[in-house]
Symmetry: C3
């Protein structure tokens, strides 16, 4: 694709260099070479522009200051990140799957498949399940009984969707994710843990993405819900009856116990833990490795274990670093005091 | 099922309302509607009883105080939690599997299957393995060679049981769980990590449940053992040669390094880590997100990282919160002292 | 195998006992019985030698002091750990697989398989993928399209290798590991998280071992790389564009965000978290459960969350334990001071 063509596709204006060069791929600004396009969207990478070997670079007007090499075509645009994102997709198109239902898949006779469905080898779809148009079930994935999957979904290889799960449109579920296993609930009676039956399910709304090897347990009664557009990373544990709102971000290895409410737009950074029955408010941010045991206010930013307002937590942390020398100082004060008392 | 029938099944006595109403399902007290049964077992939910829309509610005599709506039949019983558990099972029976060995499964010629076994499509059972009566191996699960599985077990879809694993009766293993992979052991020689051969196995006793995507490694020599009735949640890492006792609870995302002993009835809350060769005593409780590096006494309750007696840990935590203002106070004391000294 | 034969195989010299005894298996020094061989390599287990029931024991000259039972043959050698390792392999040989490509596997017509390949039932290999001589793909594993796998690799049951992954020789990938899923990257625009396309891949060098249910995400652009001889434990999250050097050790449940550099020989103990764009230097050690948010110097040993030099962190920890009584002491000092001031 010519630089000019890509510029047009991505709402950018070419400036300088040779815009008739052909682009073959995309790369980051530190490693990009001739015939590659890159992006400069963050001022802290500006130092790399001077020696950039790429043929073209998306950039906002505000970051241009004449430092670019002569051979580099600047692709001036309003939102370089988004323009570059479109460019990456254009230059690296996903290879077209030869879409078909593998003869080595097992589709139950009562399952209903839409049009243009792809099912890989050794995938299986259980009784009374429905899969919408243009959806893909990759090799070895298991779709249980009475499962509903919307349109244009992708269930990657070896993912497992337990019975009665409901999944909306445009949902991506990565390999090894387990949706709808029983929650972890027992009653201790007569020297044994008696299993609490889990007769609820998991309901996943449109445009959700769920990472590899993440587990989302079914509700004991009622549903565990993941709202519109929320994104869950790899190896996350989402327990029974959690209610996750819209556009929520849950980073890798988070663990959310059960019956929690995570409101719209909240962000949980990596390895955050949340205790049972906790509510995390709209657009709240829980910083990495925090343990949340109490409700978090909308918009709050919390850190630590147990998590508290991040400024307070950091003040405590800074004070702790001074504590060893403080112990010395107190001793000195005490001996000075004793001397005065004598 | 009529309220009267359910009451009889669950050892409860109907009081008030219309006990001839038909029940269709179970729900929690906040969301239950007509033709649903619910439960009130925890005083803190008592406020929801007054406006409860359910047709029936399990309740202990001690929680009744005349607040129930006229249309609600109280199901008075000794143990509302257990009565409700029985009710949930009765009202939400698991749909009967059409039990058979799928023609799309791969059963080794030397494998021995009991009666009434169900094997899903694309499940495979290796050489010399044995599966007891009434057990189920779901789609895509892999049972290795020389594996023993008892009666009435359920191995969910895409779980993997490595060679030589021994599993008792009534064991549930959820999807994606990996039982018997090699432990993580190397000797560093001549600039490389030489793999320690792992020739032990995993032995799981009766009535154990193992969560989705949990990993239990085989012993290097000898076995990694999970005792009778223990329950392991999702995404847990249980390393080589750990010995887990009876009725132990291990919550989600715990990591137990290796050669540890977790004694009967111990509870590890979510995301707990345990270092090598540590012993956690009978009925000890390790609170969420703790890191245990030393033995824990029977019955002890520990918290923190490194974990210590929870009261001591909390006292330190409370003191830490006062530390920033303490720094100020020390400065004031010092200047007052200096003034006196002058 | 006779003790004399094993001694020869393992570069050890038999001393005492009856070296013509037949050995059947290996065990640790506390549980070894007659006809078993064991090892004493760590002085702290020396107390078990006196009552050791094994028939033979690898031991270094320096640990011998006449305490061994009369019936025990000492196998004197320079490196007891390595000699024992060889002995374990010799006494517990892996049963020979009946190597073949299962008729129940799905191999794409454009895939190229080397010689002596084993592919289990319900494993699938995608278009244009290549697998080197002597490699094994176990039951249910999924090898995507355009994947390269070297010689003598083992991909265990139900592991998933996404498209375009490149794997060297002698690589072991345990069950449930997911190699090459999309990294976790979005741009927030117009009230939604827009997915960043991930067109990079994962490149794994020779002699790497990857644990069960570990996830290694593909690069957004370019590769996520795991260097020669590195060993990754179970349930680890390795995000997009991380560069892991040679002989690195990453223990269970670590989470490495993205674009990090982990240099040669570094060790990350269990459940360590590493923030984006961090560099961990050569042979640095990050202790268990630490959270690393800034670069770690080569050879440094760090602990805590946020991680700092371990000696400093421990000094703070020790000081924290004294803080509650310090609060008392300050109060006393203050009242003494007040008295003086009056």
């Amino acid at each position: 694709m010519l630089i000019t063509e890509l510029a047009q596709l991505c709402n950018a204006t070419p400036r300088g260099g040779d815009a008739s060069v052909t682009l073959q791929s995309a790369a980051d600004i530190m490693s990009a070479q001739a015939h590659q396009v890159t992006v400069l969207s963050d001022g802290k990478y500006k130092k790399y522009l001077k020696d950039c070997q790429a043929s073209a670079c998306f950039i906002a007007e505000s970051l241009i200051d004449g430092d670019a090499p002569a051979g580099l075509t600047l692709l001036v645009c309003k939102d370089p990140e988004m323009s570059f994102l479109v460019a990456v997709k254009a230059l690296h198109p996903e290879p077209a799957l030869d879409r078909r239902i593998s003869r080595q898949a097992a589709i139950a006779d009562t399952a209903k498949l839409g049009s243009n469905i792809h099912v890989g080898p050794f995938a299986s779809v259980g009784q009374h399940s429905r899969i919408g148009d243009d959806s893909t079930v990759d090799a070895g994935a298991r779709i249980g009984n009475h499962v509903g999957i919307g349109k244009n979904c992708r269930i990657h290889a070896n993912a497992v969707i337990y019975d009665n799960t409901v999944i909306g449109n445009n949902v991506i579920i990565h390999s090894g994710a387990i949706i709808g296993a029983d929650g972890f609930g027992y009653k201790y009676r007569d020297n044994q843990h008696v299993k609490v039956p889990h007769v609820g399910n998991v309901v996943i709304d449109d445009n959700v993405e769920i990472g590899a090897n993440t587990c989302i347990d079914r509700g004991a009664l009622g549903a565990t819900r993941i709202g519109w557009g929320s994104k869950i990373d790899n190896l996350v544990q989402l327990g029974h009856n959690n209610l996750v709102g819209k556009n929520v971000i849950v980073c890798g290895q988070c663990g959310i116990s059960g019956s929690c409410t995570i409101e719209d737009g909240a962000i949980l950074a990596g390895s955050v833990g949340v205790a049972d029955h906790v509510k995390i408010g709209t657009r709240a941010v829980v910083m990495a490795r925090s343990g949340v045991s109490q409700d978090v206010e909308p918009g709050a930013q919390v850190w630590g274990s147990p998590a508290k307002d991040r400024k307070i937590a950091w003040r405590e942390l800074a004070a702790l670093a001074k504590l060893p020398e403080l112990l010395q100082k107190i001793k000195q004060l005490e001996s000075r005091l004793t001397k005065l008392e004598e």
